[in-house]
Subunit: 383 residues, 2 copies
């Protein structure tokens, strides 16, 4: 991508309302835009990061044998009456009455909907176990939305649900999901995320664990939460199966959530400094940023040829082809946080050299001719 044609408009000012660093940097680096209180749009640079997190989650869920589906946002209110959770969620739940007089809810979570779905399809022990999941926008009318995408009214969640024959099966899937979560957080640069026992009030299950991260501000904001639901929902929605002996039994359930936007914010909280973001290569919107300086035709042509060769090698690359000063380019590069920068300066270039400069610190000079090979090596070695 050429910067001059990209929708990347950085900002020097720190928005007053943004209290935590991730919120400030996401706004300043043009990752997100505030639409309303607790409601954000992902701009092109931010969406590239969001899609990377989603793909990591998909790969790890798939590896664990989970199947992806996509439930609707709209749900009939009646299903919440049935589970009795209309009162548990209370004012957090957003609803409206449609033109046919039916009250509809904007899904804050999907236990009711998915239990009803599985109850209608699963008949036999042969149909179990089963793990289903989705990555979808959820809606909650938060009393105090804050910290940008960390506590919003509209947010992206990965919610998974396991369906087992018995407690042993649930225990096995629960353990499997703990391993999946550990891998996901580690791949997203959050290997310091900690698991601990938690309250399971809202879900009404038997026990639960949450995955939390301590922020510099001293707060803890929650990345994932997993619950042993047991048979609570399957009993309400008729989720039963026939076992080997032909005896009817309730399906034993678990549910497993990850706040997808929170992974991004947490990653920035962990990987940033006073100048901007320091993306781990796994989540970075581009792997390489090329910064030509001085504006000579020779340097411009060389920068463009490197850009084309990296694109051909399927290495995501951004070329800062703007007519801006070195200062502006360096500041923006530090702000948006692409891990690997190729700096093509006049003095080095005259001596046949180019600098590879890492956002996290460290640099190396290489011969012009050896640049692309060296960059490939570093990207494949994950820098």
């Amino acid at each position: 991508m050429l910067w001059s044609k990209s929708f990347i408009f950085t900002s020097k000012e720190t928005p007053q309302e943004a209290e935590v660093r991730s919120h400030q940097l996401m706004l300043r680096a043009c990752l997100i835009k505030k639409i309303s209180t607790g409601v954000y749009a992902y701009l092109p640079l931010g969406l590239r990061v969001l899609r990377k997190v989603k793909e990591i989650i998909r790969e790890e869920m798939h590896r664990a044998g989970a199947q992806e589906l996509l439930l609707s946002t709209l749900q009939p209110f009646s299903i919440w009456k049935r589970s009795g959770r209309d009162t548990v969620l209370g004012k957090v739940m957003i609803s409206f009455i449609n033109r046919h007089g039916k009250r509809m809810v904007l899904g804050p979570t999907h236990e009711e909907i998915i239990t009803e779905l599985v109850a209608q399809r699963v008949k036999s022990y042969k149909d179990l176990p089963l793990i289903l999941y989705q990555i979808q926008s959820k809606f909650r009318d938060e009393i105090r939305p804050r910290y940008g995408v960390i506590r919003g009214c509209e947010f992206t969640m990965k919610d998974a649900y396991s369906f087992d024959r018995d407690e042993d099966g649930l225990q096995e899937n629960y353990q499997r999901m703990i391993e999946v979560y550990t891998r996901i957080f580690s791949r997203c640069g959050l290997s310091h995320c900690q698991m601990r026992e938690a309250d399971s009030e809202m879900m009404g299950g038997k026990s639960s664990h949450e995955f939390v991260l301590s922020l510099a501000s001293g707060e803890e904001i929650e990345l994932g939460h997993i619950f042993k639901l047991g048979t609570k929902y399957s009993e309400i929605f008729g989720g039963v199966y026939l076992d080997r002996e032909g005896k009817q039994k309730p399906i034993v359930m678990g549910c497993y959530g990850i706040g997808v936007d929170r992974i991004i914010a947490a990653c920035i909280e962990k990987h940033s400094d006073e100048h901007g973001i320091i993306w781990p290569i796994s989540l970075s919107p581009f792997k390489v940023l090329i910064i030509p300086l001085g504006g000579s035709k020779q340097i411009e042509d060389y920068a463009f040829s490197v850009y084309q060769r990296l694109e051909k090698e399927n290495i995501e690359v951004l070329l800062d082809d703007r007519q801006e000063s070195a200062g502006v380019k360096f500041n923006d590069a530090d702000l948006i946080g692409i891990p690997l920068r190729i700096i093509i300066g006049e003095r080095n270039f005259a001596q046949g050299k180019v600098e590879i400069n890492l956002r996290k610190g460290g640099k190396v000079q290489v011969d012009k001719e050896r640049l692309v090979g060296k960059v490939q090596e570093m990207v494949n070695g994950e820098v």
Copy 2:
């Protein structure tokens, strides 16, 4: 994927409410589930198709230089007041008052939001042209939802917006989008889709074209709609830029929608028979279905080894490892419509042969040893 572990529960019964073939087949083949009137969930098999359509759209939009973002579903009602479209959309618009007393809308379309976004960022002629798009759920309180995903209250739309310096620029991007649409529809098996001039009332633009398809039922459902908006929205939201002479000018806009779910339904309307769906390979949830018959250990082992080798070659394959009769397996295969079927029957197998059977008609016998190579050849040649 092994069928025995998949969430694919087919049904023989045609649901009474489903009037058109695509709706009937999407329900029977376990692609979707009705959640409420006009509201559907995509089940794992259906989501695989949905994701393929989205990827085709992304590839073609990207090729045209468009950048993807993700606007929010929630929008402040005030922005609709400003454009005056609150009255144009009327009861179709879904809204609610949040706990802070602010009226919020569930986005039925995003011209207002995106114009405000671009107006805040774009300052100079150098920032233009620009094409932004998203693939997102939209919400409309339809008076008469029908035909399954064809006319729903919650649906997936690709909406793109172009921003140009002048009418000539708009004309160029408009023409580019027509080419993009032609490629998208053609890749989705809908090359017979026709473009024609249309009404542009709701958008309030200057002129528009729609892409329509005639159904067997005699109806025409609309797959895409593109509009020359001109300066209507940029004038309302202050979307101006400074031209080369430093003169302030309004940005000239176009907008371009595609009904993503409708592509799936239209594809099924076009590519199906009385037994089920006949997927083009581009949209098919799996490229290959392996059907072992008879239940001998030898055949089961061979089927599984073919399955593993195709997976290794990154060919999406479903193995029907269920303990079901040949009749059930064949009927389900015809219903779910995977284009290429490998049938491993006892008599053929004893003679060292396997049958490759095409859902659209035609079959060929191949030596067991040559099977994988032949399948690869056919898949790469797009059957």
